[in-house]
Symmetry: C2
């Protein structure tokens, strides 16, 4: 049994100019790729993970919009600076992010999904903890908002695993992060 | 004859995190996609244009590296704030960029290639003067340098024309800019 096979994966959408949201967490540009019956592989991807890491701001935003937290069926870690009581499968985690990821990767299980937001994913990129990135590029330039990649991430080579494109112009890029550099 | 068919096209490479160069105009990361016999369509593309627009800084950088200006066989416009005497087919242009592009598009000819740099291409994006973007995404995160897309470009929807990917992991995205928005 190869325990190291459990992967931390970023699955996220952005505009061609690299924004995951317009100012004020406005995600309305994602609607240009809405297409009935087409989920761009999301359901299959979600089936392949059993653990979710998400930033506290993103968690609060989702819940604040009146949505139910979409990963209640999985072991979830909300990364926060201020402790909160856990809620069912949702763990509020204020410890060291790297330790958490290392611990999770050493356990057995399916893959681990980082569902944003910007702060957490940039921390994970900086610490070189991702194994794979699945990026869906929406065919639009938005000009402003929340950047997917912040400045200052250390250089990392990628290995292209696959490219898919879809009728509405969405391009999905799937990369592995090269290790041991 | 449809004169409006002459297109202004950006053809450029960038890292996955959207940098066209690392600090100090360092382009060394492009070497990871060097592959003998593979020019990623560049020769064909260059055949399809007869006019080049390039920023003064980029022009000076190319010439300063000891390279010959690669577009001497084409009508070239170096966009500059300070006039210089023209040099063969190379015109130093300090007038209004939008007027130049409009004038060129109204003449007959092959397509027009914007060969950078960042300042000129962002001005052309801001003025919505591009007809097509051909973006080659190099499989690397570099973290710092010269951004392809600056903040503040007005929102523009794109139409995906094609996607190609290559053995070394380069992905080439070809978009049309949607007009009349």
């Amino acid at each position: 049994m190869n325990k190291s096979k459990r992967k931390l994966i970023l699955y996220i959408s952005c505009s061609l100019d690299g924004y995951i949201a317009k100012p004020n967490d406005d995600l309305s540009f994602l609607s240009i790729v809405e297409h009935e019956g087409q989920d761009y592989g999301y359901a299959d991807f979600v089936q392949s993970v059993d653990t979710v890491i998400i930033g506290r701001k993103t968690y609060d935003w989702v819940v604040g919009q009146g949505y139910e937290f979409p990963h209640s069926d999985k072991e979830s870690y909300v990364i926060t600076r201020q402790a909160r009581p856990n809620k069912g499968s949702i763990n509020f985690y204020k410890g060291d992010l790297k330790s958490l990821v290392t611990e999770l990767k050493n356990k057995e299980g399916k893959n681990i999904f980082c569902d944003g937001g910007s702060e957490i994913l940039n921390q994970l990129l900086t610490d070189k903890l991702f194994d794979e990135l699945i990026l869906s590029i929406v065919p639009i330039i938005v000009g402003n908002g929340t950047k997917l990649f912040k400045e200052g991430i250390p250089e990392q080579e990628l290995k292209l695993k696959s490219v898919n494109h879809f009728e509405k112009g969405l391009v999905q890029l799937h990369y592995e992060l090269k290790k041991g550099e």
